[in-house]
């Protein structure tokens, strides 16, 4: 495997060629926030949260392959501002009622808002008219909370076709829908949990389970998102 040299935040690291900037940064213990990216599935770079300054340009770290002599800045003031604004936009765009959500405390969008100390979005709330589909006995989908990251669709498609979830509509009317026929055939509690875990927010919810971890011991109650990425890389 050929090695490359890459500079991240002023420090030089050696990395394997062909990996994405996001992975390289993670390996050396630098956290770059992500939302639409999910470990193990091909990145699509749609949420733009992982935007970094790569060789002077703003590019998504999850879709840019690391190359030799690349210079990356991951956390300049401007980048952090852009990321905070994206989070605020997502909060204002959907109906994110955190106190009533089963995912609260384990939600990646909420955790990012905590990270950027969002007290209130700078944008007026949109309050879009959206419904939810709770007809399946195992799983429900709440379009109010969906941020259209497509993780649920991409994950299943890549592992074994076809997907449990499908896109419906275009533009701001896009919705993730459940493929009821397929899900009725093969769904059990384990797969429902898997589908729920793929969702960064509380849009896909496994039924008959929720609020089972007390406030104070949920994933992002004490430790900010990204604090589990420990330093393990080799500095040259």
């Amino acid at each position: 495997m050929s090695k490359i040299l890459i500079t991240i935040n002023g420090k030089e690291y050696s990395a394997e060629a062909g990996k994405m900037v996001l992975e390289v940064a993670k390996e050396v213990g630098i956290y770059i926030p992500t939302l639409c990216h999910y470990e193990g599935i091909k990145a699509q770079g749609s949420c733009r949260i992982c935007t970094c300054l790569i060789d002077g340009r703003k590019m998504t770290a999850c879709t840019t392959p690391a190359s030799h002599r690349m210079v990356v800045e991951t956390n300049t003031e401007e980048l952090e501002k852009i990321r905070a604004t994206i989070v605020e936009l997502l909060f204002a765009e959907g109906n994110h009622f955190c106190p009533a959500c089963e995912r609260s405390g384990n939600c990646e969008l909420q955790a990012l808002a905590y990270r950027y100390k969002m007290m209130v979005p700078q944008f007026p709330y949109n309050f879009p008219s959206r419904d939810l589909d709770a007809t399946n006995p195992k799983i429900m989908i709440d379009h109010n909370r969906c941020i259209l990251c497509k993780r649920c669709i991409r994950r299943k498609k890549e592992k074994d076709n076809p997907s449990w979830f499908v896109f419906k509509g275009r533009g701001h009317k896009t919705q993730i829908n459940i493929d009821h026929e397929l899900i009725d055939k093969e769904f059990d509690d384990k797969l429902a949990q898997e589908a729920m875990d793929t969702c960064p927010v509380g849009a896909i919810i496994r039924k008959e389970k929720g609020f089972d971890v007390p406030i104070g011991s949920r994933k992002y109650d004490k430790d900010p998102i990204g604090s589990d990425i420990k330093k393990q890389g080799v500095i040259l």
Partner: protein, 183 residues
């Protein structure tokens, strides 16, 4: 120097944020040393008797009376703080903003709901004395200017305490990660 004057109110809220304020426990004695309360459910003063320094708003605006009270607070307070999810984004009352019209909400509450039993004349309350319900629930900062926001449902007692003390004493706010939560 006289003590800063604090006013509080609950608009379309559940009084949970006020309960959370009381959750500062024995520090309430310190609080009364630090500030004086004016219009507030805590001392039961119903109308403003003087200009206040800090106004604490709980709950969003779901009817005409909420708007009236909120504008009164803006007029009478130098600093307004939105406390809790309802004041900041409408909260649970704002869940009706999503799909239901006000007519549907009222019909569900007074006519169609399974628990409605005694309303044989099919009356939806519409007395002149009752405040008009708004078509939508509004966060407070979409009605008047709000200076500070303390999220939470309810905001942790430490969050309210830290913010209030910082504001009154003129120190920088110390808001640790654990106390700023949306639920």
């Amino acid at each position: 120097m006289s003590k800063p004057i604090v006013a509080t109110t609950s608009l379309a809220g559940c009084f949970g944020c006020h309960m959370s304020l009381l959750d500062i426990d024995e520090r309430i004695l310190e609080l009364f040393d630090l500030v004086e309360f004016n219009k507030s459910p805590i001392d039961d003063i119903k109308t403003f008797t003087k200009q206040c320094d800090i106004g604490i708003i709980e709950g969003g605006c779901c009817n005409s009376e909420n708007i009236h009270v909120l504008k009164e607070f803006r007029k009478n307070c130098k600093i307004l703080i939105s406390v809790g999810e309802c004041a900041i984004m409408g909260g649970l009352p704002a869940m009706r903003n999503n799909n239901a019209s006000i007519t549907e909400c009222l019909e569900e509450a007074y006519l169609n709901c399974v628990s409605v039993q005694a309303n044989e004349e099919k009356i939806i309350p519409n007395d002149e004395e009752l405040p008009m319900i708004l078509e939508k629930v509004y966060p407070c900062h979409e009605i008047v200017k709000i200076d500070y926001f303390l999220p939470g449902c309810a905001p942790r007692a430490d969050l309210i305490w830290n913010a209030l003390v910082a504001l009154v004493t003129g120190n920088e706010m110390d808001l640790p990660y654990e106390v700023v939560k949306f639920d």
